[in-house]
């Protein structure tokens, strides 16, 4: 009996959701849906994104909403789906979003969801032979380099790390001409960490005359770093770059303190410029220098950060992208002159995609975002460092 009731509830749950979204489209509203990891170990990312998105849409709606092709105004409706950072769930969620009247989706959180997700989309627009899903996705968080190239339906507003780190090392070279050697630390089983160290940081460091004297590798759930730190101690590097999650970043930093390794400069992964690292090990992280595409350096950014906090989230480089995506989409929708009716749904999605593809510059919180033809973005950034338990802007190349 109980089982039957449970199953019934499940079926009801699935169908009411689908129906609710249809019913809501009756008066002038359009839907933009967010998705990503809102539970599990990385759930905090999705929760922040979700808060940023709804704060941004609330702001847009308060200012009158979005203008449609016929000149009328529409409110933006949004909701956020949890994919638990699981590839199958992510695909399922996107299919579900595409089956409703949503115009475009913002997400996902995890690069390992993004990769399969982009794979089920049509690779090239108008490719008759490709039956991939035709739905625009505008990614805020999944940051691993080069993913947008998988499909022409994908656009990303994640910062391009290669430019940021290139600039960071150039800046280090200028400001600290005495620094010669660099030692890398990388979380081997985490795609983003690997990519950033091997393809971004290392290249950039070598380009600006640093000598890579060694690499330390560890895994996501490692708890013992003494072997890795010992190699680092012997190499006596001037710069140590750590490309890892906050948990192991903290573990490694602690081990470095213990083994009295004192590099002159510590460089971190851009994702580490969030609250987590500081909540885990503020003391050891002191001085950790990171390029990031968000810091509350101007009025607009401060206001946005406050709005997100009011929604129960935190503003960091990831959720800032979610905020910006919402704002960019508003402009895109107005410029694309969409119908906003159920009949024009397919057409509207295509218009949004085309408009995103043609976009070359978009306003961001820190200044103008440059859009690349392959769907990636180059965003303004600042260099921050950890100081007294918070992220302090060290240098703002844009100003």
């Amino acid at each position: 009996m109980k089982l039957k009731a449970l199953l019934k509830a499940g079926v009801l749950g699935v169908s009411t959701l689908a129906m609710a979204s249809v019913a809501a489209a009756q008066d002038k509203t359009i839907r933009i849906v967010g998705f990503g990891a809102a539970s599990g170990v990385v759930g905090i990312f999705g929760q922040n994104s979700s808060a940023a998105m709804s704060a941004a849409f609330e702001k847009i709606n308060a200012e009158g909403g979005v203008e449609l092709a016929d000149g009328s105004k529409a409110m933006i409706e949004t909701e956020y789906y949890d994919d638990r950072c699981n590839a199958e769930e992510g695909i399922s969620v996107l299919r579900r979003i595409a089956s409703t009247d949503a115009l475009v989706a913002i997400g996902p959180t995890c690069s390992n969801v993004a990769e399969p997700l982009f794979g089920i989309l049509q690779a090239k627009v108008d490719d008759e032979g490709d039956t991939g899903l035709q739905f625009p996705v505008f990614t805020d968080v999944a940051i691993k380099g080069g993913l947008a190239g998988i499909s022409e339906w994908v656009f990303r507003n994640t910062p391009s790390e290669s430019q940021m780190y290139d600039d960071l090392f150039a800046w280090l070279r200028t400001n600290h001409p005495d620094l010669k050697t660099i030692y890398g630390g990388v979380e081997e089983d985490f795609a983003h960490s690997r990519f950033t160290w091997y393809s971004v940081m290392k290249t950039a460091a070598e380009k600006h005359g640093f000598e890579v004297v060694g690499e330390a590798q560890w895994l996501l759930s490692d708890t013992n770093f003494s072997n890795q730190a010992r190699g680092m101690r012997r190499a006596e590097p001037d710069v140590v770059a750590i490309s890892a999650h906050p948990f192991t970043t903290c573990g490694m930093l602690r081990e470095m303190t213990r083994q009295r390794i004192q590099p002159k400069i510590l460089v971190g992964l851009t994702s580490s410029s969030s609250l987590e690292t500081l909540s885990g090990c503020a003391n050891e992280a002191e001085g950790l220098t990171i390029p990031t595409s968000f810091a509350p350096v101007n009025e607009e950014a401060k206001a946005a950060a406050e709005a997100v906090v009011a929604k129960g989230g935190q503003m960091d480089l990831h959720s800032a992208s979610a905020w910006e995506n919402a704002m960019i989409l508003k402009d895109i929708i107005e410029a694309a002159e969409i119908g906003g009716t159920p009949e024009t749904l397919e057409e509207d999605r295509r218009k949004i995609r085309d408009a995103l593809a043609e976009l070359e510059n978009a306003p961001g919180l820190l200044g103008s975002n440059k859009r690349l033809p392959d769907g990636e973005a180059v965003k303004p950034y600042v260099f921050v460092h950890a100081k007294d338990g918070s992220w302090d802007v060290l240098h703002n190349p844009g100003s």
Partner: protein
């Protein structure tokens, strides 16, 4: 509509994963290696289509055979132990497979692009379905034909002496030996069959998600594999199917509207289900075709099993 078809694909793939553990569980062995076989199938089938341009059907059959062969080889040492030792041994094997693919880089060039597993980066662009004009529902129908064939084969096997033998070994190994059953042969046979089914499932999985990486095939997936048949009950293949629908359909998809409370409820409901129905949702006894057909007469009462030890 594509959403529901997509969901049906997930159900199908997970049913195969669950059935692969079901066959092994019939002999009383809890194998945590199913995620490993699934991974072998996924990488093999992916390589067959993406790297060597094979058709999907031979690709998944080869994937199944490769997994079966490895399951057979692993079965001999692993099945020397049982109970908790076997759980840990198979878990270790599954992790070894995962780490093997974590370290495996082998790419070939096709049409100017590199295809193949690339270590921690995973195996990208296994896009046989979209590139060959398969609509979502085509894929769904294809998967369910495979699932139906496997389920029918297992259902039929359960009617044959082989099925009774598996269950006999699962119930009491000492007695099974005393009547002349070769335990090693039976267990390794079940493991091989399980490996084949897991290989098929993994092969299909790789194509439905287009990108696979070692992290997917971890302990959690192995746990899911055994969870399906245990939750559903070992009575018949339909227990596994029901459990897949319950977990993937209700707990994961149906409760999505609950936000992050869903994940909390997920574990709690499994605990509850096992307390209320310890023998699984559909129970542990094989429903006899006869008693199903003979609806008028009450089926023989299945009393609580006596502890045979």
């Amino acid at each position: 509509m594509d959403f529901y078809f997509g969901l049906a694909q997930i159900f199908g793939v997970h049913t195969l994963l669950g059935l692969s553990a079901y066959v092994v569980l019939l002999t009383g062995q809890v194998s945590m290696a199913q995620a490993g076989f699934y991974a072998i199938g996924a990488y093999t089938a992916g390589a067959m289509t993406a790297m060597f341009g094979l058709h999907i059907l031979p690709a998944i059959v080869i994937a199944g055979l490769v997994s079966a062969a490895i399951a057979c080889i692993v079965g001999f040492p692993a099945l020397r132990v049982k109970g908790l030792m076997l759980v840990v041994a198979t878990l270790a094997f599954g992790e070894m497979v995962r780490l093997f693919f974590f370290n495996l880089s082998w790419q070939v060039e096709r049409g100017g692009e590199l295809f193949g597993p690339d270590g921690a980066e995973g195996f990208r662009s296994i896009r046989y379905f979209p590139e060959n004009g398969w609509e979502v529902w085509h894929v769904t129908v294809f998967i369910w034909i495979v699932v139906a064939v496997v389920m029918a084969a297992l259902w039929w096997m359960d009617r044959t002496r082989a099925g009774a033998v598996l269950r006999a070994v699962g119930h009491d190994e000492v007695a099974a030996q005393s009547i002349g059953l070769n335990l090693t042969a039976v267990k390794v046979g079940a493991m091989t069959a399980g490996g084949f089914i897991a290989g098929l499932g993994g092969g299909i999985y790789a194509h439905t998600v287009t990108h696979i990486e070692h992290g997917v095939f971890g302990v959690l997936l192995a746990t899911f594999a055994i969870a399906y048949p245990i939750l559903g009950g070992l009575g018949s293949v339909f227990g596994t199917l029901l459990a897949v629908l319950f977990i993937q359909g209700f707990l994961i998809e149906g409760l999505r509207f609950m936000g992050d409370w869903r994940s909390l409820l997920f574990g709690a409901l499994i605990v509850l289900a096992m307390n209320l129905r310890p023998n699984g949702l559909l129970g542990e006894h094989a429903p006899r075709l006869k008693s199903i057909l003979r609806l008028g007469k009450p089926a023989p009462d299945s009393l609580e099993t006596k502890d045979a030890n």
